[in-house]
């Protein structure tokens, strides 16, 4: 088979189950591609190629014996390096944890393995999922496969870069202020921040207890739904875990959008943080396309992005300080500058500031809930700009906060970012869909409708 590296997870699993594709053949193709491209992309912190190939041989033997572990049997997956994989380092891309070896799998990794997925290795991240892209860490930052001079987004940088480059069909990321959706936006893939509590965070290094989410990153909407079905579920050992309603995520993917009500949050990108004109045009194109597909689109107003960002920052940094305070006091020089600055901020909030942010948060949750009573899904910007250059700190500083992702970490609603088009300079543009709590199926339905109409799943970077 040719172009195995662009094969979706669902197609690969189906071909493996039907014995049309060997898991060993797939793994060999991806390892060869990793060997060729990773030196340019810095996607991996730790590639576990031998173990992955051994697991592929086992998967092949199991298929021959008529045993399939689950819906991802034999499909490779990359894991962000803040998530534990037994026997491998969890470094969080930081000197602080350079020698930290995980003794067991995180629940999300365990579930993927239970479904038959094969772990390829650990992927680059912004340091502790907050400080990046940084050039003063033990490993270089990941790069964007659409143009390696550009930032792939973060903090799940290696996850976004590797999925987009065809190094693996799916990856795990984490999202505290947009860290799944930012690389999905910059790299033109599909990234979901599920409803808060839907996916267990046990075994994932925390950044902010009440804002952290684990989410799937894939090249297609169907793969994202497939991954979420494996990952979702209650975990009594995760204090933030919810008991989600039963139901599938992929069943309605091909349903018509006739009658669906979409709320377009235009003020995010028109007033709060005026977007690049190409982003604005792409968002309008998405809205028009959804209308043509039968959806009703109307304007919706929410609190401003500036206030959402402030609430997110106070909560995130306060909670992160509780985690990092001891290291920041004793080993400040072992952090990169970006993480050090951002994490130290939490030392300078009063307890009352944190509580006020949490009180305002409840009002913001109510505002989004109110909006979602009148519509089924929200449509809004994800990033206000295409990915900037990775080697110009001023550009990173300017563009990094220009986004509309933090609102839904604050409120916990599910939010999916994906490609909305390609800029004149050849970089992905993005759109974000937001749903009601635990209504990821509707989110996938709308995202798939856009993907089907625009063919975004067929657009790949020209990297060899």
């Amino acid at each position: 088979m040719s172009d195995l590296h662009w094969m979706s997870a669902a197609a690969a699993a189906k071909a493996i189950a039907a014995r049309d594709l060997s898991p060993v053949e797939l793994m060999a193709a991806l390892l060869a591609r990793i060997e060729q491209l990773d030196p340019k992309l810095n996607t991996f912190i730790r590639l576990d190629g031998e173990a992955a190939m051994a697991a592929a041989r086992t998967a092949e033997a199991e298929v021959a014996a008529g045993r399939l572990r689950g819906p991802l049997h034999g499909v490779p997956v990359g894991i962000k390096d803040i998530i534990d994989v037994a026997g491998l380092p969890t470094t969080c891309h930081s000197k602080i944890l350079q020698d930290n070896i995980a003794t067991s799998d995180a629940v999300c990794v365990s579930k993927l393995r239970g479904a038959g997925a094969i772990v390829l290795g650990k992927l680059s991240t912004h340091e502790f999922a907050i400080g990046g892209p940084s050039h003063d860490l033990p490993w270089p930052p990941a790069r964007n496969p659409w143009n390696t001079d550009h930032h792939p987004g973060g903090s799940s940088s290696g996850s976004g870069s590797g999925v987009a480059a065809g190094l693996f069909p799916m990856a795990l990321g984490s999202d505290t202020g947009g860290s799944v959706r930012n690389p999905a936006s910059c790299c033109g893939i599909v990234g979901l921040k599920p409803t808060y509590g839907l996916v267990s965070r046990r075994g994932v290094f925390p950044l902010s207890f009440t804002l952290d989410h684990v989410g799937p990153m894939t090249r297609t909407v169907a793969d994202n739904a497939l991954m979420l079905k494996v990952l979702a579920g209650h975990d009594p050992a995760d204090p933030g875990s919810a008991a989600p309603p039963r139901g599938g995520y992929a069943e309605g993917l091909e349903r018509s959008m006739l009658g669906l009500r979409v709320g377009f949050v235009r003020h995010f990108h028109e007033v709060d943080q005026p977007a690049d004109p190409e982003v604005t045009a792409a968002l309008e194109h998405v809205a028009r396309t959804l209308q043509l597909e039968g959806a009703e689109v109307r304007d919706i107003h929410l609190p401003t992005l500036g206030e959402f960002a402030a609430v997110n920052r106070v909560i995130l940094q306060s909670e992160a300080w509780a985690i990092h305070g001891p290291w920041l006091r004793e080993r400040p020089g072992d952090y990169g500058q970006l993480a050090r600055r951002r994490l130290m901020g939490g030392a300078f909030f009063a307890a009352g500031d944190y509580v006020q942010a949490q009180r305002r948060r409840l009002e913001m949750i109510a505002a989004v809930e109110e909006a979602l009573r009148d519509v089924d899904v929200l449509l809004c910007a994800s990033s206000m700009d295409p990915a900037c250059r990775i080697d110009i700190p001023a550009d990173i500083e300017r563009t990094y906060p220009r986004q509309a992702r933090t609102p839904f970490n604050v409120t916990g609603h599910p939010a999916l970012a994906m490609m909305a088009g390609v800029s004149a300079s050849g970089l992905p543009l993005s759109v974000q869909f937001v749903g009601r709590n635990f209504a990821e199926a509707t989110l996938f339905q709308v995202a798939r409708g856009w993907e089907r109409a625009a063919g975004t799943d067929k657009k790949h970077p020209a990297i060899v």
Binding site: P239, A310, R313, R360
Partner: protein, 75 residues
């Protein structure tokens, strides 16, 4: 009388007095960071101050936070 500009740090449109930065940093136990990375400490103070100012405090005194303050299984 205004202090000289060198006694203040301005980041993200927030100006902070370096003496206050020092007091806050020492209270937080960040003496090493203050000695080695004073600009980073000042930036962190300025950014924190900026974020707090942008939050609209709920007008209703009965407004509760999220997550709710509730007892868990351990009590």
């Amino acid at each position: 009388m205004d202090k000289p500009a060198m006694d203040k740090t301005t980041i993200d449109n927030q100006t902070v007095d370096n003496k206050i930065v020092e007091v806050l940093a020492r209270r937080a136990g960040l003496d090493k960071a203050l000695a080695q990375f004073p600009d980073d400490v000042a930036a962190a103070v300025a950014q924190a101050a900026g974020a707090v100012q942008k939050i609209k405090v709920p007008a209703d005194p009965r407004a509760e936070p999220w997550p709710p303050m509730r007892a868990g299984d351990g009590l």
